[in-house]
């Protein structure tokens, strides 16, 4: 090999080295590109953070001043801006037991200063091993001053906020209440919990406190008079679906949430579902008229009770003859209503009730909403009993909103507890003509039928009574009644629907021992309408005026129809 071999070797090595350097250069470019990209990424991130992120610290003091002004949880106001719920800043007393020098003395003096602080429990707290114990939440400024004067080391105050309901128990079930940490537990407080925590503007309800007060006042009065176990009342704007007043008694004081027991928390107006009884005939009759199967001149035979499977359907005010449609409604005939429903058809009945919102829970903005109890299979017997309000349990609010649609010209509006900003959009459920005829029939009930006691002079109240026997176990009870009246006024152009229900009322001497809707609930509606109509700007009219009479008159057709029927035989 010698020199030649060495030279060849060196040349190969030289070639190798060139090759290696070339590879290195290529890869150096890759490294450079990676670095350039990484530096670019850091630079972009820097620009993003410095210029385009929301600063944690505001650059001006204006916003923070704003924050200080508002107390945490947003207010609740009624439709006219009257304050229903607000938040006040309070101080809560806590202790760091490790820093309390003389627990016995401290407990003793705290018990002397604060009325509901007990010396023994406080001593137990102050001698515990923890470094934080609550002594008392939400002290008054006076109490804070007293505690500071005691000069006990280890006691501290924590600024908290407390929910205050200035009107006490008024509209308690609508408002709901909060726990000690201001977390909504019921009513609109729970429904709007998130919004009220985060937003400053108050929740504006559709409630009018004046109407609410009248409603609760008259309802409580009636419950006391008839020794009822409870009651419910609703005033609804017939054209918008806004709930102007809604009460459920017994109620509670949301200012003292620890005193609220299960029984008073129950909202009978929205959560309770009941078999409504005869008030349901509003829907049966409207359905029959709207379907065209029958008109105001038509009627059904109510001579004999209906026997179907093991049930017997009877009339409470039995006339034992053929009845015209107005008579059926006025005398509240179960037999004829059942026939009316069968005549329209089972499927049609179900579809109609679904349309007026009877088969689904009310869409109102409250957490306490009861779902209706709908029969699983809709047979003939179901159709018949549902026709007069048995075998289908709904909440009073469903009944009220459905009735509003029947009387207001036929438009169903979703009921709302919040004040509407714009016009309400409804869904047509019956024709104008059906609605107009139903208004006449409902006025007839108050003028001449079972609802005479509801007649508030000049306000043209129309309505329907309802008396349902409550089911106790699996039987209906004759003694335990749900007596109600649903009305609307003024009947020539209804503005408001008013509903009153008493739970297990007892008859009195004035009602001759009767506890039916016409005797116990209808008078309450009269009193309520008399008091609220002036507030709501509804002027009284002369009921005997010709144009009024013309708009609301109903020809009972008893004789004529009877003759026609005889003639037809």
């Amino acid at each position: 090999m010698g020199r030649v071999g060495f030279a060849a070797n060196a040349a190969r090595l030289d070639g190798d080295r060139k090759q290696v350097i070339e590879t290195g250069r290529t890869r150096l470019m890759i490294a450079g590109a990676v670095f350039a990209a990484a530096f670019l990424a850091v630079a972009l991130r820097l620009v993003d953070v410095a210029l385009f992120s929301d600063s944690y610290e505001p650059r001006t003091a204006r916003i923070s001043a704003d924050e200080r002004m508002r107390t945490g949880r947003a207010d609740i106001v009624d439709r006219n801006g009257v304050l229903l719920a607000t938040s006040l800043e309070t101080a809560s007393l806590y202790a760091n037991p490790r820093m309390v020098i003389n627990p016995e003395q401290a407990a003793h003096r705290l018990a002397q200063t604060l009325p509901d602080v007990d010396a023994a429990t406080t001593l137990a707290k102050l001698t515990s091993e923890r470094s934080f114990v609550w002594i008392k939440r939400h002290l008054t400024p006076q109490q804070v001053h007293e505690v500071i004067k005691l000069g006990i080391p280890g006691l501290e105050f924590n600024r908290e906020e407390r929910r205050i309901y200035p009107l006490g128990s008024l509209a308690a079930h609508v408002l709901g209440y909060t726990d000690i940490d201001n977390k909504g537990l019921a009513g609109i407080e729970l429904q709007h919990d998130e919004a009220m925590r985060t937003r400053a503007e108050p929740s504006r309800l559709s409630i009018d406190v004046r109407v609410q007060h009248v409603l609760e006042n008259e309802l409580a009065d009636a419950i006391a008079r008839h020794r009822a176990i409870g009651g419910a009342g609703i005033v609804l704007d017939a054209d918008t679906g806004e709930i102007v007043g809604m009460a459920s008694l017994p109620d509670f004081d949301p200012n003292r949430p620890n005193t609220i027991v299960e029984d008073v928390r129950f909202n009978r107006a929205t959560l309770g579902v009941y078999e409504m009884g005869s008030t349901f005939k509003i829907f049966t009759t409207a359905m029959a008229l709207d379907s065209g199967r029958v008109d105001l001149n038509g009627g059904y035979d109510a001579t004999e009770p209906i026997r179907i499977s093991r049930f017997v359907i009877r009339d409470f005010h039995a006339k034992r003859r053929w009845l015209s449609v107005p008579e059926i409604f006025m005398y509240s005939s179960n037999i004829a209503s059942a026939k009316m429903a069968v005549d329209v058809g089972i499927a049609n009945q179900r579809a109609f009730l679904a349309r007026v919102g009877m088969l689904e829970a009310s869409p109102v903005e409250l957490p306490e909403v009861g779902a209706p109890l709908v029969p699983q299979r809709w047979r003939e017997i179901n159709a018949m009993t549902i026709a007069f309000g048995h075998g289908l349990a709904i909440s009073p609010l469903q009944l009220v909103s459905g009735t509003a649609a029947i009387v207001n010209g036929g438009m169903l509006h979703a009921p709302t507890i919040l004040k509407r900003d714009g016009p309400a959009h409804g869904v047509r459920v019956v024709s104008e003509r059906t609605s107009e005829r139903m208004r006449r029939l409902m006025r007839l009930v108050v003028e001449k039928g079972t609802g005479k006691a509801a007649n508030a002079e000049g306000y043209l109240v129309g309505g329907k009574t309802g008396t349902a026997e409550k089911t106790l176990g699996r039987r209906y009870s004759k003694k335990a009644l749900m007596s109600s009246f649903i009305g609307a006024f003024p009947m020539n152009k209804p503005r408001y629907v008013v509903y009153v229900m008493l739970d297990e009322p007892q008859g009195t001497k004035e009602t001759h021992g009767y506890a039916t809707g016409g005797w116990v609930a209808a008078p309450v509606v009269r009193k309520i309408v008399t008091r609220i109509a002036p507030m709501l700007g509804v002027a009284p009219v002369d009921e005997q005026a010709r144009e009024v009479q013309e708009r609301l008159m109903v020809n009972l057709n008893t004789v004529q129809a009877g003759v026609r029927r005889v003639a037809a035989h």
Partner: protein, 373 residues
């Protein structure tokens, strides 16, 4: 600037005409920023520690001239001298690294420092540049000299150094050394199969660190889900950049330095963001990027494999430290303590970086017809 004429053949004169003066200027700018920020950031930290307000600033100012001398002196060296310096430096610093495990001061749970009477030395800082140069020599020799097992020696050396660093423990330093070592192998023409395998191994290693090292787990978890735990440092750092905006609040006017324990070291970039503003930060980033990319571009023309590998290794180390530090401050990556070259407070770090950049300047000087075998 024409203090030296072209015909000046003195050592300094030749140096002036052959050294990369642009990189030198960039380094000088960075030292200037570092001085400014040492004055701005460190008094707050010193005060919080109950020290004289200018305690850190004074110490840093004592080191800066030394660093300048090192940059200058090392950049005068020829590649061969640089290599020898690196070998000696590596031997000494690895020995000191072993010593830390025996007599080191334990600070915040790690043994990284040796007390030299008033000045604590962090040997691992010096391991980084010297290791990079020695590795470059081993790999280059392995490539160019028949029968020299350079790659194997480099691998063994790497394992020793990493074992010592993990023992301290110092994960950040381990990552930097590993990346530099890998980058050099890559440039030395490592077969793509091994590149892929090592990249995969790196990913596996990172996942393993996440799974088996509890403080890495918590750091990464907090990065991925800031609501989950304490992200005080990173949140405060980001706030600093937001408060600074485009032009900053003015030197000394920031408040992040009084909130963050490491404002003068690991989070000095946030102090810059708050006091000097986004534009100044972009300028600092640009200076760093310039030094790295210009250095890489300069060795691109070099025909010497050792010079290419050594320079690239040193620049990768330099650039990586910048990226990790700024990325942590901006919450672009999980927070990892890493000094920002020339700007962060820290004597060992500054001297080591001076050494590294001195070497880079030495290696990137123009050499006409000179070859280093």
């Amino acid at each position: 600037m024409s203090a030296f004429t072209r015909s000046d053949t003195s050592v300094v004169g030749r140096w002036w005409w052959t050294v990369d003066r642009w990189s030198l200027a960039a380094i000088a700018c960075l030292v200037g920023f570092g001085t400014l920020l040492a004055l701005a950031a460190s008094p707050a930290v010193a005060q919080r520690l109950g020290l004289d307000p200018f305690y850190f600033a004074r110490r840093q100012f004592a080191v800066i001239p030394v660093a300048a001398v090192i940059v200058f002196a090392v950049s005068l060296m020829s590649p061969r001298t640089v290599r020898r310096l690196a070998v000696v430096g590596l031997v000494v610093s690895v020995a000191l690294l072993v010593l830390t495990l025996i007599v080191g001061m334990e600070i915040k749970g790690a043994r990284r420092w040796i007390d030299l009477g008033g000045f604590s030395l962090q040997p691992s800082e010096f391991v980084k540049p010297t290791f990079a140069v020695v590795c470059a020599w081993l790999l280059a020799s392995g490539r160019t000299q028949e029968g020299f097992p350079g790659s194997l020696i480099a691998l063994g050396l790497y394992l020793v150094v990493v074992a010592l660093l993990i023992k301290q423990p110092d994960v950040g330093m381990t990552v930097v050394v590993t990346v530099v070592w890998f980058a050099q192998w890559f440039l030395a023409g490592l077969h793509m199969f091994w590149v892929a395998l090592l990249l995969g191994g790196g990913i596996v290693g990172m996942v393993a660190a996440y799974l088996f090292l509890p403080h890495v787990t918590s750091r990464v978890d907090r990065f991925l889900d800031p609501s989950q735990g304490d992200t005080y440092q990173v949140t405060t750092s980001l706030e600093a950049f937001m408060n600074g905006g485009l032009f900053g609040r003015g030197p000394g006017e920031g408040r992040v330095k009084s909130l963050l324990p490491d404002a003068h070291a690991d989070f000095v970039f946030a102090v810059a963001g708050e006091e000097l503003g986004m534009l100044a930060c972009l300028l600092i980033l640009a200076l760093f990027a310039f030094i790295v990319l210009r250095g890489l571009a300069r060795v691109w023309h070099d025909n010497n494999l050792f010079v290419m590998l050594a320079t690239a290794g040193l620049l990768v180390q330099f650039g990586l430290q910048v990226l990790i530090n700024t990325g942590s401050s901006l919450s672009l990556i999980p927070a990892k303590g890493m000094t920002l070259p020339f700007i962060s407070y820290g004597g060992s770090s500054l001297l080591a970086i001076a050494l590294a950049m001195g070497m880079v300047l030495a290696l990137t000087r123009r050499r006409y017809g000179q070859e280093l075998a």
